[in-house]
Amino acid sequence: MKNVIKLFFSIFLCSIFLTNAHSAGEKIDLLKTDWSFKGYLGKFDRGSLQRGYQVYTEVCASCHSMKYLSYRNLSEKGGPEFTEEQAKAIASNFEVTDGPNSDGEMFTRPAKLSDKFVMPYANVEEAKISNGGAYPPDMSVLVKARSGGADYIYSVLLGYEDPPEGMILDDGVYYNKYMYGNKIKMPKQLYEDLVTYNDGTPATPEQMAKDVVTFMAWSAEPHLEARHKIGFRALIYLIILTILVYFSMKKIWSRVESEV
């Protein structure tokens, strides 16, 4: 048994080591908040996801695309879980280009559930020229595309400050405490009561940041809830099976004079 524990811990230590070696690098203390989706059985907060969607459409969507989301995702399990009618209503607010029709022409129609989120710009170049040369990144997997993840984006949204003395910023460049390099081309977005939440939650910048980052975390990892649920079961299953096999092994090896 001693050996087993030794073995298990060496694998475990190796994994810890390589995890750390990997993420080693400069670290700034990011702002923290209590994400409901962390932890072994963590789930998204539906209310927060729905509010986050509202913040996204009303604040972010004019510049940032979310090209991997479809309107149907809004009513899927594990997401904001709008009802299908609500999702259809949301979709029909957007115009998409379809076609060609039988006359060979493209036409616009209201979006359907199967359509992808409508993008604010036709292409990257248009996005750049409309935003002073900086491309507003697509937000669908952004949480996974930044080290620090949800905490990092939450911190950047709330990290606008006056630049330290002596730092000269160009026009259209803003100082952000948490942004990589401290310079960001997106101006501060979240001000008190910028949106009006239907459920009466006070729209403080912290609340809006938390909601929209929750929404982005879901968008980056839409199956997170299923993953946590299946993972929890899989681990319990493996532990029970390991114990059973351990006793089977003891039984079998008891036939020879040797230690397992």
Binding site: R72, S114, Y237, L241, L244, V245, F247, S248, K251
Partner: protein
């Protein structure tokens, strides 16, 4: 006695390990099978809306639905007559035309021969309906099999009239 008990306990451990192991293998195999089923984006495209306002009587159009051709035929009076006057006892696959076409003027069906999946040709064959060139199946003006190797009538998909100009298939 104690010997027997020991044996029972050993058997229990082995049986339990095997049984639990089998459950695990099953749980692992399922995702590997299910991944080949239609995915969410495919399922989301399961319905198509078709504009039929410009279709003249006697003409038909073919639209793509779930990757398969769907025939939408605006039938003439004669064709409806012909379809309705058949004694269904004579049919290999008895179905009333009334059950196949909700609105007698409009016939909506999958354009796939029920024999081996070819696409039948319109306004052909001995029954003025459709004719499958692959193995010679003849369908009538209601898309019912009359002659040839196909076992059943052309399939009617789920569809509804959204308004007088639009049919939603699926």
């Amino acid at each position: 006695m104690s010997e027997k008990k020991k044996v029972e306990r050993r058997d229990f451990i082995f049986t339990a390990s095997y049984a639990l192991g089998a459950v695990g293998v099953g749980a692992v195999v399922w995702p590997l099978i299910d991944q080949m089923n239609p995915d969410r984006s495919v399922k989301a495209l399961a319905s198509t809306e078709v504009d039929i306002s410009s279709l003249e009587p006697g003409k038909s159009i073919t639209v793509l639905w779930r990757g398969k051709p769907v025939f939408i035929k605006r039938r003439t009076k004669d064709e409806i007559e012909e379809a309705r006057n058949v004694d269904i006892k004579d049919l290999p696959h008895p179905e009333k035309d009334e059950d196949r076409a909700k609105d007698p003027e409009w016939l909506v069906m999958l354009g796939i021969c029920t024999h081996l999946g070819c696409v039948p040709l319109g306004d052909k064959g001995e029954y003025n309906g459709w004719f499958c060139p692959c193995h010679g199946s003849h369908y009538d003006t209601s898309g019912r099999i009359r002659k040839g190797p196909a076992p059943t009538n052309l399939e009617i998909p789920k569809y509804e009239f959204v308004n007088s100009n639009t049919i939603k298939i699926g």
